[in-house]
Symmetry: C2
Subunit: 192 residues, 2 copies
């Protein structure tokens, strides 16, 4: 149950067995069915979840009702709305399971306790957020500078397992194009 997450934290810093098992003791294990909303716009996000199994996405909905997917979180990813989680303020995001999932959850309280007792975890979370940020920077750059076909090709390369797991229109909403157009891109690519 904790192998994956312990492997993950091991890559960020060296923790003693005691620290690791203390960390594990703070995590809540949850099974969640497909198509469950873990967070809705307006709610305060009260979790940071590590995905043990399954696939989760977070997305925004714009004023026309169109969804923009921010992230697909699969095995070994964290998912949360950190801004809402950290500042205890209402979120603008939705977080939804796309498959039956198993997750390990920290709450604001358990995270605070963890950081207080084992400050070394500050570093882990900093590294985690840093990686996220620089990924986000690349993504913004790509969103602005690249056309639909290349965005899709790049997505395939970067996340080869996702297209087999999630519906195509979610990918379109991640790439910032209409589902119809993604379909056209795909047929064009297939013809070559």
């Amino acid at each position: 149950m904790y192998e994956a997450i312990n492997r993950y934290i091991g890559l960020c810093a060296n923790f003693t067995p005691g620290e690791t098992s203390y960390f594990n003791s703070l995590l809540q294990f949850r099974k969640v069915k497909k198509k469950t909303l873990l967070l809705q716009e307006g709610e305060v996000c009260n979790f940071e979840a590590f995905v043990n199994k399954g696939c989760i996405r977070n997305y925004y909905i714009d004023e026309n009702g169109a969804e923009v997917t921010l992230q697909f979180a699969i095995e070994d990813w964290w998912v949360s709305d950190i801004a809402s989680f950290h500042d205890r303020k209402p979120s603008h995001m939705f977080i939804e399971t796309l498959e039956d999932c198993e997750i390990l959850v920290l709450t604001p309280e358990t995270k605070e306790e963890l950081l207080h007792k084992v400050p070394k975890f500050e570093r882990m979370f900093r590294l985690m957020v840093q990686r996220n940020l620089s990924r986000m920077q690349e993504r913004l750059f790509q969103t602005i500078s690249t056309n639909a076909t290349n965005k899709y090709l790049d997505f395939l390369e970067r996340y080869p397992s996702i297209p087999q797991r999630v519906a195509q229109h979610y990918i379109a909403s991640y790439l910032g194009m209409s589902p119809e157009f993604l379909s056209k891109v795909r047929t064009r690519l297939a013809k070559k």
Copy 2:
């Protein structure tokens, strides 16, 4: 020289006067002239800079030579390529002063020393990166979901001082549109 940055760190955590002045002693003060490249693609970023005075931008250049501005850093902002800085790997970014600047600089060594001696700073850097990340998430959402006019209006609201300080085509490259089109957007808005 240190008022601004000490105010900044004070908002993140409580530091003793000793910790604060130790922190200050690690910072390098630098004056940099307008239009200086602090970082070029291919170089390893060896600084995290706090802007005491002036305006700095970081940007990417895409395969067609078009610039995409990621951020304008003015007073009280940090600027760096964290991915390159942290992993000591070549950057894809450019960082350039747009005005004569005064900055306070941490190097990988001084930052490491700081974190080692005063681990409380881990938290400060985590919060800094977190804020950056959630800002980036909003921005990606807006980039995908909003039209040019609203992007510009939103920019004016969020960064009212920037348009008076930097050339318009930099703003266009931040907003992900051509300078010509930003100009057209502006005249349209002015007519109302």
